[in-house]
């Protein structure tokens, strides 16, 4: 093995193709599970705020399960466990359509929904009840008070934890390697096995992850700035 040489990997079309495919897969998993998580989180939030006692309990149990069981174990339970309980037709269809990625999206999305819904809930709860009363006194209906008074403040309060959890979702997409999805970490390990340039390829992988995480963080910081009426008016 000779010295440090990044171009040995970056100039090799086979390796760069692997890495690009890994990045693509990581983003498919990330965006898919983010959308699933956000949709589910809004649904959970509606159930939580509805007057049904049972619904509230059920959502609390859902959140508690997903927060207290390691994400890796959840993924393993989905892919190695629940997958085998599906009817045979569905199993073979999934196996033919990249089941690893689908279960990574399902597992990560369901897990993240618990975090997102808690972020949104604590954001909304930090808006004082006087805001709703004042909005109603000014002639707003419940819906329009929610839309114009409560939601803008609540979402703004919820933004910092939502951004943090979006970044951790991106990092957690690397867990999909355990169930065999061919995402970025998988690509890094594959290139390592072929090229034996461990240091260089790990460095490339680390820089890629760091770059995208910082990108998500700064996009979030920009969003928070836009959502803050005082600062965005000044800008």
């Amino acid at each position: 093995m000779n010295g440090f040489d990044l171009s040995a990997i970056l100039r090799n079309p086979e390796y760069t193709a692997m890495l690009l495919h890994g990045i693509e897969m990581t983003f498919v998993i990330y965006i898919g599970s983010w959308l699933l998580a956000m949709t589910l989180a809004l649904l959970l939030l509606c159930i939580r705020f509805s007057p049904l006692r049972f619904g509230d309990r059920a959502v609390a149990a859902y959140v508690s399960y997903h927060r207290n069981v390691p994400t890796l174990v959840q993924l393993m339970l989905w892919y190695f466990g629940i997958f085998t309980l599906f009817p045979a037709g569905l199993t073979s269809w999934l196996a033919a359509h990249n089941a690893e990625a689908i279960f990574a999206v399902i597992g990560l999305g369901l897990c993240q929904a618990a975090y997102f819904s808690e972020d949104l809930r604590s954001g909304l709860r930090s808006v004082s009840p006087g805001q709703m009363e004042a909005a109603k006194a000014l002639g707003h209906s419940y819906i329009s008070a929610m839309r114009f008074v409560i939601m803008p403040q609540g979402v703004r309060n919820a933004l910092p934890p939502l951004i943090n959890h979006s970044v951790s979702l991106f990092k957690n997409s690397s867990l999909a390697i355990v169930i065999g999805a061919s995402e970025l970490t998988h690509a890094v390990k594959e290139v390592e096995n072929l090229s034996f340039r461990t240091f260089e390829i790990y460095l490339i992988g680390t820089v890629l992850y760091l770059f995208f995480s910082l990108l998500i963080m700064s996009a979030g910081a920009y969003l928070s700035m836009r959502a803050d009426p005082v600062r965005s008016a000044r800008a």
Binding site: V73, G81, L175, V178, K189, T198, Y209
Partner: protein, 252 residues
């Protein structure tokens, strides 16, 4: 289904609890708990150093630590594990057991995360404490040691417990480099049975849930007690705003 689960527990409870211990390395739940307790115990002093370095007025101390914190926040734990799996044997020149590799990674990772908690705890105390201590003749380090840190660390006990919970969850990633922990034991059981994967991983999830849920519960009780105590100390004035349980809530 339920009979299968009970049968698996009856047959394999010892393997899940301590791994192949008398005949092989310690593993299973015992190893998971030892690994997480050790990494928190080692990460704690590291995190205080890192937090003090980040609050220092010298750039030479502040910048490398800030970079370290951003790197650990931006890179998946899995990538860091791969790094230490590669680097630790290279530096020590010895055949390092995967347990030590995992321990090193967790100390760095949780040390960086805890340092943010410590820093927030110190900042949340306000500068008045430091000013008062300096006015009473303490040196900057002495004020840190006797005035600031005792208060900040006491307020942080709930966050430390919740970091312990996330460390327990993080140890599952040792599976990738074959650390003989609970997840590893469960997958061994699964490989022996082959026919009941759902039951095996269900047991695994339930065990992790029980441990993490009870620790989270303890953290909540402690947090309530500390809030009450601080509210009592300030003599009926508005309760002092505590450090939120998770400043950068990091999850796995």
């Amino acid at each position: 289904m339920i009979h299968d689960i009970i049968a698996i527990i009856q047959d394999y409870w010892l393997l899940l609890l301590i791994g192949q211990y008398p005949n092989g390395p310690l593993g299973g739940l015992a190893n998971t708990l030892i690994l997480s307790a050790l990494s928190i115990a080692l990460a704690f002093p590291v995190s205080i150093m890192l937090a003090l370095a980040r609050l220092s007025k010298w750039r030479l101390l502040r910048w490398p630590v800030t970079a370290l914190v951003y790197i650990t926040r931006g890179v998946p734990l899995l990538m860091l594990i791969l790094w230490s799996y590669f680097l630790v044997p290279l530096w020590t020149g010895a055949d390092v057991p995967s347990f030590v590799t995992m321990l090193t990674t967790l100390v760095v990772y949780q040390g960086a995360f805890l340092s943010e908690v410590v820093r927030a705890g110190i900042v949340a105390l306000g500068s008045g404490q430091m000013d008062a201590a300096r006015a009473l003749g303490h040196s900057s380090l002495g004020a840190m040691r006797f005035i600031i840190l005792p208060q900040a660390l006491y307020n942080m006990i709930p966050s430390i417990i919740s970091t312990f919970v996330s460390t327990i969850k993080d140890t599952t990633l040792g599976y990738v480099i074959n650390v003989p922990d609970l997840t590893f034991a469960a997958s061994q059981v699964n490989n022996q049975l082959l026919t009941q994967p759902f039951q095996v991983f269900f047991i695994l999830a339930v065990v992790y849930y029980a441990i993490c849920w009870s620790l989270t519960h303890v953290a909540n009780i402690v947090e309530r007690r500390i809030t009450r105590r601080r509210a009592g100390l300030s003599g009926g004035a508005a309760p002092v705003e505590l450090v939120p349980a998770k400043i950068i809530s990091e999850q796995l």
